[in-house]
Symmetry: C2
Subunit: 346 residues, 2 copies
Amino acid sequence: MTTGSAPRRVTIADVAGRAGVSTAAVSKVLRGAYGVSPGMRAKVRKAMDELGYRPHAAARAMRGRTYTLGVMLSDTRNPFFPDIIEGVTDQLGDTEYQVLLGPGGDEPKSQARMTDAMIDRSMDGIILISPVMSGAELASIATTTPIVVIGRHGSAAEYDSVVDDDVVGARLVVDHLADLGHRRIAHITHLDRGRASGADSPQAVRAEGYRRAMRARGLAEGIEVVATSFTEEGGYEGARQLLARPARPTAIFAGADVAALGVLRAAYEAGLSVPGDLSVAGYDNIGIASLKPISLTSVDQDGHVIGATAARLLVERIEGRGRSVLSSVSPTLVVRGTTGPPAGRE
Amino acid sequence: MTTGSAPRRVTIADVAGRAGVSTAAVSKVLRGAYGVSPGMRAKVRKAMDELGYRPHAAARAMRGRTYTLGVMLSDTRNPFFPDIIEGVTDQLGDTEYQVLLGPGGDEPKSQARMTDAMIDRSMDGIILISPVMSGAELASIATTTPIVVIGRHGSAAEYDSVVDDDVVGARLVVDHLADLGHRRIAHITHLDRGRASGADSPQAVRAEGYRRAMRARGLAEGIEVVATSFTEEGGYEGARQLLARPARPTAIFAGADVAALGVLRAAYEAGLSVPGDLSVAGYDNIGIASLKPISLTSVDQDGHVIGATAARLLVERIEGRGRSVLSSVSPTLVVRGTTGPPAGRE
DNA sequence: CATGTTTCGTAGAACGTTCTCCATTGTTAG
DNA sequence: CTAACAATGGAGAACGTTCTACGAAACATG
């Protein structure tokens, strides 16, 4: 109907005109600042409603907040992210903050580009999910914009961290399998591309937790780790390597569910029954793990809690907390059909 | 090390000072505008590099572009999105545009809130994935900001659309199953919550395509549609209803893979072998569909092409194309282990 | 009644860009 | 040599907020 180009935005000045007050007064009402009489507030609110006023975020950004929080995703495909994001948005629920997600890719360079882009857009704070960067780079970002890091174990004074306790998670799996009678329990981990994340990465901690738990159970002999990648293909490849070895493991603990799916495929192709000939456990408890045809034993991280915690910490930071916080979320083991006692003698 | 608060941003004025030129000149270089000598360009570029200048998006937004494109996600869990997003980012690759994702939820209200938030942040354009809104609402958004709609079949003058040809997709499945000898092929569709999307939604078109294909094969008698939801639970529930009917279908075509997974669970629980007693086909060809323990026959939409096309159309719009475009992407059928000839007599 | 002290409201300067004019050069045509 | 014109660079006004000063009431205190 209405031809012609975009209608001009309703601004604070329009509202001020309509209400018969100054723009400064409108701004005060908007910000809930001190020095506004109830009468004035009502007048301004009314004018805003009538005109359908919406604050212009870019203009706000020039001086104050943008009320925008960024979440950098290191891998869009990871089926574990939706839970975290849901936790974040739920926590922020009815606050004025908006969440925007940035696909950062798995390269340090592309991730840095994404965080830079978020900073350029004056976001009030950023949540980084499993970033592949050095601690120094993270600290440097933190001097510009408050950040919370999810899934990296190294803590730092400059920013807050939320991690799943991967040592506990790995122990839960090893104990479960050892209780079933397994002695040769192998582990598939993810090979770090860049030198960046190192020993802080979840995969490194899971692998270390696995080794420690094995030793604690007196199974040091049975320790076997193969490093491929946390993908279906990586799990498949890792399992093939492990199953080709002379002393075949009776159980494989994959550091991620996606990899565990690859392990299942390798077992299937090798004609091994699960859990009869081979027990398989994963990590993350992704949605499909619970589906009947798969029924994968896995470690559940409660992404919802992790996301909500990260959001809470970030807002606290933005609103002035100085001291750094490291929040550790305990995982639980969900036992399903892919783990069982090892076969007879072997 | 460097204590004290955030270091002041490097601005265009700093660059101008360093290069010994005016801010206007720097801006021209930045924008690649007319009226800049090669010498000046070099000087300015050098100064920018030395100072590590980064344009401040919010300030840009006050007058020109933000070089930010938004993608509204209607459901973060849909495993089909990563492909689309990858297509979008690949297409935008080395342009100056940045992509930010907004979780819009599945409610019309929350989706509207998200798009409003994107408009408030002066994004240059927005891609809406399967939005649940009326055509009028979409058109109204389009008057403010260029948009491209993915997955809605109704075309409109105000915006561009990219759709999978769901009629073709449904026909591929029905033809495949009919060729195998099935006559009672049931369909599970998604029940629209709001009146908003209506006949434009993919599920509605798939269902209609299914009916049309059935009639075309002379199987009008075998048409059976049950409307639950495109979730694992929805597929399970739908399958239970269908399997309880007196004339049990020999094949179920679920309108989405996630629902097909639920169908598989229902079949498993009912003691039916797949594809022996029941053939199952899905739609979307999500990652896990190809995994051995599932091996689901499904329709592949090539989300990568859809995303890339949407991004291309959006940029064209932003740069001035007036005429509206509807791009239809043809799906393909991927036949796997869950479909086969129906059992003996039945 | 003179003098503080709140409380309420407004002016107006930022913030970092873009972009429309305008001024100054060369350069070319006549 | 001059008029006309293209090419190059700069001044300065937006853009829509926030927020520091500051003034004017209204009120309390002696």
